[in-house]
C-alpha cells in the first residue's frame, strides 16, 4: 500500500489540475492548473523509475557496495521528466505572456468575457 502512495499522489495532482482548468474562470488560475497537471504527470514518471533503497544512477562518488545496476534508479524516466519540465517552462511562459496581452486588450482575466471570437 505504502508503495502506491506516489501513484495516488500523481493522479490526485492531475485531477486537481484538471479541476482548476475546468472550473476556475481566471486565466492565471487556468495556467496554474496546467502547471499542477504537468507536475502530476512528472511525479508519475519519476515514480516509475524508482526502486527501493536505490541511489541516483551516477558513477561519480557512488557509495561502496552498490550493486550495478540493481541498486540504482532508472535513469530514463528522469531524463523524460527533465524534458517534460523544460517544455512545461516554455508553455507556462507563453501562457502567462498571452494572459498579460489579453489583460491589456480586454481589461479582464475572466474566461467568460474573453470570447471576442464567438459566432
Amino acid at each position: 500500500m505504502i508503495h502506491n502512495i506516489p501513484y495516488l499522489a500523481a493522479v490526485a495532482l492531475a485531477i486537481i489540475g484538471l479541476y482548476a482548468v475546468l472550473f476556475k474562470r481566471n486565466l492565471i488560475k487556468i495556467a496554474i492548473g496546467i502547471s499542477i497537471l504537468e507536475s502530476g504527470v512528472n511525479l508519475f514518471l519519476i515514480t516509475l523509475g524508482y526502486r527501493e533503497n536505490a541511489v541516483a544512477p551516477i558513477y561519480t562518488n557512488l557509495p561502496e557496495g552498490t550493486s550495478i545496476p540493481e541498486g540504482m534508479t532508472l535513469p530514463v524516466p528522469q531524463a523524460l521528466t527533465l524534458t517534460s519540465i523544460v517544455i512545461g517552462v516554455a508553455v507556462l511562459a507563453l501562457i502567462l505572456s498571452f494572459a498579460v496581452k489579453i489583460y491589456q486588450h480586454y481589461g479582464t482575466l475572466d474566461s467568460r468575457e474573453v470570447r471576442g471570437l464567438r459566432k
Binding site: N61, P63, E64, I68, V100, Y103
Partner: protein, 157 residues
C-alpha cells in the same frame, strides 16, 4: 510599488556572485553530477531574477538588452546543433570526442569513481551550449514579462 529597501539590495548583490558560481558549476559538471545545462542555466537565470526583483526591471533593462539575449540564445542553440552535425561522418549526434584522448576525450572508469572532468566527449560541450541558451532564454522571458507589466502600469497613469 515602493522601492525595495537597502537590505534587499545589499543581500542581492552579495548572493548574486555565489548564485553565478554555483550555476556555472552545475553546468560544467553536468556529465559527472546531477545537473546539466538546463538546471545550471535555471540557477544562473534565478540569480538574474534576484537582481531584477531587488533593483527593478528598468535598471536591469538599461544594462541587458533583450535583443542581445536572444542573439546569445540563438548562439547557444547553434552550438548545440553544430556539435550534432559534426558527428555526421558516422551518424547525427554521434559522440566523436569520446575515447579520442582529445578534449573531454578520456574514457571514464566503470563503477564508482571520484569523477574526472576530462570525460564525456561532446556531452560537456553540449551542456555548456544548452546552459548558454537557457540562461539567455529564461532571463529574456523574465525581463520581457516584467517590462510588459511596467508598460501597462505607465499606461494606467
Amino acid at each position: 510599488m515602493s522601492e525595495p529597501s537597502k537590505i534587499v539590495k545589499t543581500i542581492a548583490s552579495i548572493i548574486f556572485p555565489f548564485t553565478m558560481v554555483f550555476g556555472i558549476y552545475v553546468i560544467l559538471h553536468g556529465h559527472l553530477t546531477p545537473g546539466g545545462g538546463f538546471q545550471g542555466g535555471a540557477i544562473v537565470a534565478s540569480g538574474i531574477v534576484l537582481l531584477l526583483v531587488a533593483f527593478g526591471s528598468a535598471e536591469i533593462a538599461k544594462r541587458v538588452k533583450e535583443s542581445h539575449l536572444s542573439i546569445l540564445e540563438s548562439a547557444g542553440a547553434l552550438c548545440f546543433i553544430s556539435l550534432a552535425f559534426l558527428g555526421l561522418f558516422k551518424t547525427f549526434f554521434y559522440n566523436f570526442l569520446a575515447g579520442s584522448n582529445f578534449i573531454f576525450g578520456r574514457i571514464p572508469p566503470f563503477g564508482s569513481n571520484p569523477g574526472d572532468m576530462n570525460t564525456g566527449g561532446v556531452l560537456p560541450l553540449m551542456n555548456m551550449s544548452v546552459g548558454l541558451k537557457v540562461i539567455a532564454g529564461l532571463s529574456a522571458i523574465v525581463l520581457v514579462l516584467s517590462l510588459f507589466a511596467r508598460s501597462r502600469k505607465q499606461k494606467k497613469r
